[in-house]
């Protein structure tokens, strides 16, 4: 990464669809930009686990388990309010909004600043 930060145009807004991603290269750096519930989020394409290409993984809602009032399990469910990016190397999952693994807060992606204007999407890093 460059020593000083730079703001780089990455494309028109439509290139980052709702619930989707755009992965771009800026020099030697690969960045994933995601849009969820109208907001943009961007991370370096390096998993906190073994450095895998996390931004190129599967995007899927968080899986939860339904427990009834009696404490009994009623099986799995998708939590559509929480979208995950999954590293394709080993399956580490991160909340796209926070970049944090749901079971280990210290396992987190490296965030990249992202903004959007009428011209499109920019990252600053």
């Amino acid at each position: 990464m460059p020593a000083t930060s730079q703001r780089v145009y990455v494309g028109a807004s439509a290139r980052v669809p709702e619930g989707g991603r755009l992965v771009v290269d800026v020099g030697d750096t690969t960045i994933g930009i995601f849009r969820f519930q109208g907001q943009l989020y961007a991370y370096l394409n390096t998993c906190a686990h073994q450095g895998g290409p996390v931004c190129q993984g599967k995007i899927i809602p968080r899986v939860t388990e339904v427990i009834d009032p009696g404490g009994e399990s009623r099986g799995f469910a998708f939590d559509e309010s929480s979208l995950h990016i999954v590293c394709p190397w080993h399956g580490f999952e991160y909340d796209i909004k926070t970049g944090v693994h749901p079971g280990r807060p210290s396992a987190r992606l490296i965030r990249v600043a992202v903004d959007e204007t009428s011209e499109g999407v920019y990252v600053t890093f």
Partner: protein, 406 residues
């Protein structure tokens, strides 16, 4: 790759050529970040030997069946491939296609299939894939194992196991091994049949690239039984190591209580090797086979300190149960060899204690287990802060070079 836009004349963003990694993505793209680590950790300066990796013999299944010696079995297997749509790549195997949970349901695509494009040449596709993975991770030599064939240790029909093990080993040593000196193997033994094991060792014991033999996924045989002693002695006399490559099952009494693959995979690999190590130690096999090198593969390391402490504790109170032992069980275990993967690293001080317990500097060997879902890249070892430079070199390859005479 399409250029998006230049900015300020200083930096530009281009759309990355692969937006999402799938079962069709090139291994070199999947492992691009591992290639980056070669420079970061100076891995080119190391002689890296990967002691446990896998090729995917599904695509070669028909060729393998052609090597079945018995014409009736060959007919039966080929007939199954022709008439059963789901058995084209698996006839006579013990691989349950409906129970393939390893990829976490599409989250880890390379576990399912390396379905990337490979130009059709005289080169075998599997060899191209193996080379792509090795080069991407900076690996100089790789000990390559099969995948569904590893499940033969739990196959219910012994005659099929023997026939298929010979067929696969003959196919592999003829089709893959002679074409790449960087590829080595530890060949599967049809362990239920000592006569067949002896025949296997005699047929392949001097084959270039065969650096030893292994027992795979077998978990219901007492490895200490007298009938196996001639097999072990044959390996000892030839100076060939014996590896135990663990394999899981959801069908044991213990794992059958489990409802999640996470639980099965966590426990079942390890208990496979724990069982064999227990019998190996308490029956005094290290004393009876002092020169036989034993390797424990694909169970990680966290189980080993437990075994050392537990067996030592019990042995001191029940020495008469293990009269052949002249030392503590842990002392024999420290002279055995282990592979690293899957390396349990979440509690650093316990990892460091484990490395000390197993004499990692001389007994531990790096393994990737690529292309399995819990594979480890070489930087897993290179990045461990408490290891000396020499320890890293030994674990990443020098110990394997010495053990296998590479």
């Amino acid at each position: 790759m399409s250029k998006v836009e230049l900015t300020n004349g200083t930096a530009s963003a281009t759309e990355h050529k692969v937006q999402q990694i799938t079962t069709r993505t090139d291994s070199r793209e999947i492992l691009a970040n591992a290639r980056r680590d070669i420079a970061r950790y100076h891995l080119d300066d190391y002689f890296i030997v990967d002691v446990d990796a896998h090729h995917v013999e599904f695509d070669s299944w028909s060729e393998i069946l052609d090597h079945l010696e018995n014409p009736v079995l060959r007919h039966n297997a080929k007939s199954m491939t022709q008439n059963w749509p789901n058995a084209k790549q698996l006839a006579f195997s013990n691989h349950p296609v409906g129970m393939t949970f390893q990829d976490v349901f599409g989250r880890i695509p390379h576990q399912c299939e390396l379905g990337e494009h490979v130009d059709k040449t005289d080169e075998h596709r599997d060899l191209t894939l193996v080379r792509r993975a090795m080069d991407s991770m900076g690996i100089k030599m790789q000990i390559v194992f099969p995948q569904p064939m590893l499940e033969m240790g739990l196959h219910p029909e012994p005659d099929i196991v023997t026939a298929m093990t010979f067929a696969y080993n003959r196919w592999f040593t003829k089709t893959i091994l002679p074409r790449e000196k960087r590829v080595k193997t530890l060949l599967c033994l049809p362990f239920h049949d000592p006569d067949a094991c002896m025949k296997m060792i005699q047929e392949f014991g001097e084959t270039p690239g065969v650096v030893g033999f292994m027992i795979t996924s077998q978990r219901h045989a007492g490895v200490h039984k007298n009938m196996y002693m001639r097999v072990y002695k044959e390996l000892e006399e030839r100076g060939l190591p014996l590896a135990f490559h663990a394999g899981p099952t959801w069908g044991d009494t213990m794992t059958s209580t489990m409802n999640r693959f996470l639980g099965v995979h966590s426990m079942s690999f390890v208990t496979c090797n724990m069982t064999h190590m227990t019998n190996w130690i308490v029956n005094g096999l290290p004393e009876r086979l002092p020169k036989l090198k034993v390797i424990w593969i694909e169970s990680g390391l966290a189980w080993v300190p437990f075994m050392m402490q537990r067996l030592d504790h019990e042995y001191l109170m029940r020495q008469s149960d293990a009269p052949l032992l002249k030392r503590l069980p842990s002392e024999y275990i420290r002279e055995m060899y282990f592979t690293t993967q899957p390396l349990e690293v979440t509690i650093p001080h316990m990892l460091e204690a484990t490395f000390k317990a197993v004499n990692a500097e001389t007994q531990l060997m790096y393994s990737s287990d690529w292309p399995h879902w819990d594979f480890d890249v070489p930087s897993r070892i290179a990045g461990i802060p408490f290891l000396s430079e020499q320890a890293k070199r030994n674990i990443l390859g020098e110990t394997a070079r010495k053990l296998f005479h590479l």
